[in-house]
Symmetry: C2
Subunit: 282 residues, 2 copies
C-alpha cells in the first residue's frame, strides 16, 4: 500500500514532457549561437547544452567518428531527460541527423534544413553560396537540402576551416580574419551569389565582418536563427512548449574544463548561463 501510494504521488508530481528541457549539442561552444536564438524566440524553455570541448573541433574529422560522438551525446541528453534534441552543429547535422532520427523516438532537429529553406526563400537570382567546415561541405548536405526544395538553384560551396579557430581566438573583428574571409569568399562573389548561408554555428559571431566583405547586395542566412524558428514551430505543433511562464534556465555541460571561450562567447551573445558542469563522455 505504501509503495502504491508513493508511486501514485510520484505520478502526480512528475512533470509532463512539455516541462522537460530542450537538449542542444555542438562539438564545442559555437552552438551557443543557436542557444541565443532559441532564448530570443523561446524565453521560457529550459535548455541543457552539451559542448564536446574535449574533442572539439568536429569539422575535419571523419563521418564515422562524428556519428559515434553524436550518438554518445544524444544518449547523455536523453539521460538528462531532454524532450527533444537540437543538433546545434552543422557538421553533426550533416553527418548524424538521419541516423539519430532513426534511433530515437523524441523529435530531433538539425540546423541544415532550416538554413537551406531560408536561403531558397532569400535568393532572387537562384545562386546560393554556402560556407562551412571541411566535413559539412564534403557531405553536400546543404546542396541536397536546397535542391530538394528548388532543383534548379545553383549552389556554390566552399570549406572554410580557418574560421572556427579564428572565432575561438575571439578575433571577431580583426584584420587577419578579414583577409581570410576575403580569400574564402571572393571566388563565390565573383561567380554572382546573391545569398550566403553561414553553414557553421561559429560563423554568426563573424557576421559584422562577413557583411563588410560581401557588401549590401548579398543576403546572409544564419542557420542558428532559422533553426530556432523551426524549433518554435515544432514545439507548438507537437504541444511540447513549456507551460510555465517563468524564464527558462540554461545548464551547460562541457567534456573538458577549458572554459575561456565559453565565457567570451556567452558575453558576445548576451546569454546568461545558470550552471556549468564538467563531465567525461563514454
Amino acid at each position: 500500500m505504501v509503495l502504491q501510494s508513493e508511486q501514485h504521488s510520484s505520478l502526480l508530481t512528475k512533470p509532463n514532457s512539455a516541462n522537460k528541457p530542450i537538449g542542444v549539442f555542438d562539438s564545442g561552444v559555437g552552438g551557443l549561437t543557436v542557444v541565443a536564438a532559441l532564448r530570443r524566440h523561446l524565453p521560457n524553455e529550459n535548455i541543457i547544452y552539451l559542448g564536446d570541448t574535449a574533442r572539439v573541433p568536429y569539422g575535419g574529422k571523419s563521418p564515422e567518428t562524428v556519428l559515434r560522438y553524436s550518438k554518445e551525446i544524444a544518449n547523455l541528453l536523453l539521460e538528462h531527460n531532454a524532450k527533444m534534441i537540437v543538433i546545434a552543429c552543422n557538421t553533426a547535422s550533416a553527418l548524424a541527423l538521419s541516423t539519430l532520427k532513426s534511433i530515437y523516438s523524441i523529435p530531433i532537429h538539425g540546423v541544415i534544413e532550416p538554413g537551406a529553406a531560408a536561403a531558397v526563400r532569400a535568393t532572387k537570382k537562384g545562386i546560393i553560396g554556402v560556407i562551412g567546415t571541411r566535413a559539412t561541405i564534403a557531405s553536400k548536405a546543404y546542396q541536397q537540402a536546397i535542391h530538394h526544395l528548388s532543383p534548379k538553384t545553383d549552389v556554390l560551396s566552399y570549406p572554410c576551416p580557418l574560421l572556427v579557430p579564428l572565432v575561438e581566438e575571439g578575433l571577431f573583428d580583426d584584420e587577419i580574419t578579414q583577409r581570410v574571409l576575403e580569400r574564402y569568399l571572393e571566388p563565390m562573389l565573383s561567380q554572382g551569389i546573391d545569398t550566403l548561408v553561414l553553414g557553421c554555428t561559429h560563423y554568426p559571431l563573424l557576421k559584422k565582418l562577413i557583411s563588410k566583405v560581401i557588401g549590401p547586395n548579398v543576403t546572409l542566412v544564419d542557420s542558428a536563427e532559422n533553426c530556432a524558428l523551426a524549433v518554435q514551430t515544432l514545439l507548438t505543433t507537437k504541444n511540447l512548449a513549456r507551460e510555465k511562464s517563468t524564464p527558462g534556465t540554461l545548464h551547460v555541460l562541457l567534456t573538458d574544463t577549458s572554459e575561456d571561450f565559453l565565457h567570451s562567447a556567452a558575453n558576445a551573445l548576451k546569454i546568461s548561463i545558470d550552471r556549468v558542469s564538467i563531465m567525461t563522455l563514454y
Copy 2:
C-alpha cells in the same frame, strides 16, 4: 613436453628488447616532424607512431584531459611492444611526461628538455623566446626546464594557437601565415630575444617563413631535431639500439580516418610510411 618445447622455441625466437619498435605519439600528425628527425639520426629503427586524430588538437585542452589521453596512448604503444616512448607533442610533454615516467618502466622521452637545453646552448644574450600552444605556454614547462639549466636566463613565451590550424591547412608559405607570425613574434623580437624555441611539433613545417620574420640574428631551436639527438644518445647508453642494419619501418596508427594532412606532411618531410592503420582508442 610439447608445451615446454613450444615455450622453449618461443623464447629462442623472441626478439630482444633492442629490436622492438620505438613508440612515438602526438595529438595529430604534427609529431611526424619528430619521426623525420629520428629517421635521419636512426635510419634502422622501427617506429610505431600514434596520431590521435579523432581528438586533435590538444593545445587548447585542460591538463586533466591531455593526461588522460596520453595514458590511453602509452598503454596502447606498450601493447604494440614499444621499447621506449617518445612524446612527440609539446603539450603532452608539458602536461603528462612526469606522470607517464612514474607509471611505466620503459624509458619515456619528451620534446621539452632537449629543446630547452639546445636553447640554453644557443643564446648569447640570455634572452630566449618560446612559442607553443596555449596549454604548453600556460604550463611554463619550457621556462622551468630552461631555468633549471640556467637560472638567470630571461624566458619570454607566447601562445600561438592559430599556427596549428594554418599548418594543418598546408599554408606553410602563405601571406596570411606570415601576417599571423608577425603578430605573434614582433613583441618578443622587440624585447631582444636572440633565440626562439619552436615549442610545438607542427612549427618546423613553418621554419622557412619563421626565419623570414625573425631575420638572421635570431637562432631557431627546433625541439624535434634536439629530441631525436637525445633519443639517439639514450639508445646507445642503454644498449637499446636495434641490431639489424636493414632500414627501419614506419607504422602509423590514427584514431580517425582523415588522412589528408598525413600525406601532405609526409611529403613535406620526405618520410616514407610502410603501413597506416585506423583504430578507436578507449
